[in-house]
């Protein structure tokens, strides 16, 4: 039944009420469930990683070694000239770990044939951006590896 001035019939009103009720119930169930499932544990990265000078001296020139920066796998390169460069080892394409190839002086990602040069710049293959690079500084007898003020390259992981 619908009286003239009314926007909807009584049946329409109650149908809406029932469907609305079910929709609210569904939302009430879904909200905690979604919040529960999408919980993310925060894993902050350390401000800096320190390595003893003597340890650095054991690395021959034109060689790279892996190290961990918090949860991030990283790679430390000692160039032919003895300069130290630190990068995230994660390829910017799909997060595989890259390796250093001394003969070509390039970082290579075996997953999809991606290449980065000695400075971590993407030069061939699918990687869309350079490797995330770290600042390498000195503090007394230790080498200090730290995140640059504004992260470069890496997609929001740091």
């Amino acid at each position: 039944m619908k009286i003239k001035e009314s926007l909807l019939s009584r049946r329409g009103f109650f149908t809406g009420l029932i469907y609305g009720g079910f929709a609210s119930l569904a939302a009430l169930v879904a909200y905690p469930a979604v919040r529960f499932l999408f919980h993310k544990k925060e894993m902050p990265l350390p401000e800096a990683v320190r390595v003893g000078r003597s340890e650095i001296e054991t690395i021959p020139p034109n060689t790279a070694v892996y190290f961990q920066y918090g949860y991030l796998p990283c790679i430390l390169l000692k160039t032919e000239a003895g300069e130290l460069r630190a990068f995230s080892a994660k390829c910017t394409h799909l997060d595989c770990n890259v390796q250093y190839q001394p003969e070509s002086k390039k970082f290579y990602c075996a997953c999809h044939d991606g290449y980065f040069d000695e400075k971590g710049i993407n030069i061939a293959g699918p990687p869309p951006s350079p490797l995330l690079s770290f600042t390498v500084g000195q503090e007394n007898e230790t080498v200090l590896i730290s995140l640059p003020a504004s992260g470069s390259g890496e997609k929001g992981t740091a």
């Binding site: 905690p32 469930a33 919040r35 529960f36 919980h39 544990k41």
Partner: protein
């Protein structure tokens, strides 16, 4: 929506299912209320599967991590306390309703021909649900879990002949430890859900095949009055009732979970005595109480072993009731089994209460 149903009907012929449901009549009489329990149990099973899978996202089943991971679920994960408490309360309600379903079926003797197989699958499910409950509350690996593990697996050793092997199988070694936890985790999330689901499918198909059982008293009364027992269509009438029941149950479940969230006991300390008044979960209190009453020796058999053998014997009489209760099989009144049914219910309730209060 209508188009989707039409399109599906064209491809997979939904029609027969709907017409089957429409033609299926549910008998209406004074004991009809017991017909509602199956749907409620099925609903709780679905809730357990969903909340259980959710808890698996964060639960870490190892002796060193289990309790801590549950503490994180309760404190850090948003609404973790709610999901775990719903899982906890749904399991308790499932056991309550499974027992109600069991006793009502026993007392109206719904196990009569041709439903013997339905009864047997039901008994298997009752045992699976109890094992579900037990394995579930060992998983937090707190103090309570530890003593539950010890007592429960030790009791398995009392089973004649294979007892020791059974205990070692359950423990994954001589003593309760991380191996035991892993085994019970595997039971709880792998073996039991698959087993229960398989038996549920058989049970539900059998119920559809036979229709609902009508109690002997109702049959006799209709016979003497020379009238048919009225029926209500399964679809949509009865399903609608089921839906409302499930909604009410869900409301009660969430309320319980909000007001009385599940607890987490202290960490296990191997060098600490069992806490005062440590008891099994409520659904095993009757067993606990009966075993407590057993004397040290019964006819030169160790009291506990005698008690467990006695309980297994009583359980077997109930499991095989359809094959022993000849009178009910002929659709005649069978006062002996009615009395036994009430006695079983009485023992269950009274021993549980005494066990709880003592």
């Amino acid at each position: 929506m209508i188009d989707v149903i039409k399109a599906l009907d064209e491809r997979i012929k939904l029609g027969w299912m709907i017409s089957l449901a429409r033609h299926k009549l549910v008998p209406v009489h004074k004991h009809s209320v017991w017909y509602y329990l199956g749907a409620l149990l099925l609903f709780l099973f679905v809730i357990q599967a969903i909340t259980g899978a959710m808890l698996l996202f964060y639960y870490k089943p190892a002796a060193e991590t289990a309790r801590q991971s549950i503490a994180e679920i309760m404190v850090e994960v948003p609404y973790g306390w709610l999901i775990r408490s719903v899982h906890h309360w749904a399991s308790n309600l499932m056991i309550v309703l499974a027992f109600v379903h069991f006793f009502s079926t026993l007392l109206v003797k719904a196990y009569r021909r041709p439903r013997e197989l339905t009864w047997l699958t039901g008994m298997v499910m009752l045992m699976l649900v109890l094992f579900f409950g037990y394995s579930g509350y060992t998983l937090p690996y707190d103090e309570r879990s530890f003593f539950a593990f010890n007592v429960g697996t030790d009791m398995a050793a009392a089973v004649p002949v294979v007892g020791t092997y059974l205990m070692e199988f359950l423990r994954g070694g001589d003593i309760v430890g991380t191996n035991t936890l892993n085994r019970f985790f595997a039971f709880h999330v792998g073996v039991l859900p698959l087993a229960l689901l398989a038996v549920i499918v058989v049970h539900v198909i059998l119920v559809q095949l036979h229709g609902m059982s009508v109690p002997i008293s109702v049959l006799k009364k209709a016979e003497t009055e020379k009238r048919e027992i009225p029926g209500k269509p399964m679809f949509p009438h009865f399903l609608w009732h089921d839906a409302v029941n499930c909604l009410l149950l869900f409301g009660g479940l969430v309320t319980l979970a909000m007001l009385i969230p599940s607890e987490l006991g202290p960490e296990i300390d191997l060098l600490k005595p069992a806490p005062e008044g440590v008891k099994p979960d409520w659904f095993f209190l009757w067993v606990y109480q009966i075993l407590k009453w057993m004397p040290t020796y019964v006819l030169s058999i160790e009291g506990e072993i005698a008690g467990i053998v006695g309980l297994i014997g009583a359980a077997l009489v109930i499991v095989f009731a359809p094959f022993i209760d000849r009178r009910a099989q002929r659709n005649e009144r069978s006062p002996l089994f009615t009395a036994l049914g009430w006695l079983a219910l009485l023992v269950f309730v009274v021993c549980s209460i005494i066990g709880y209060l003592s």
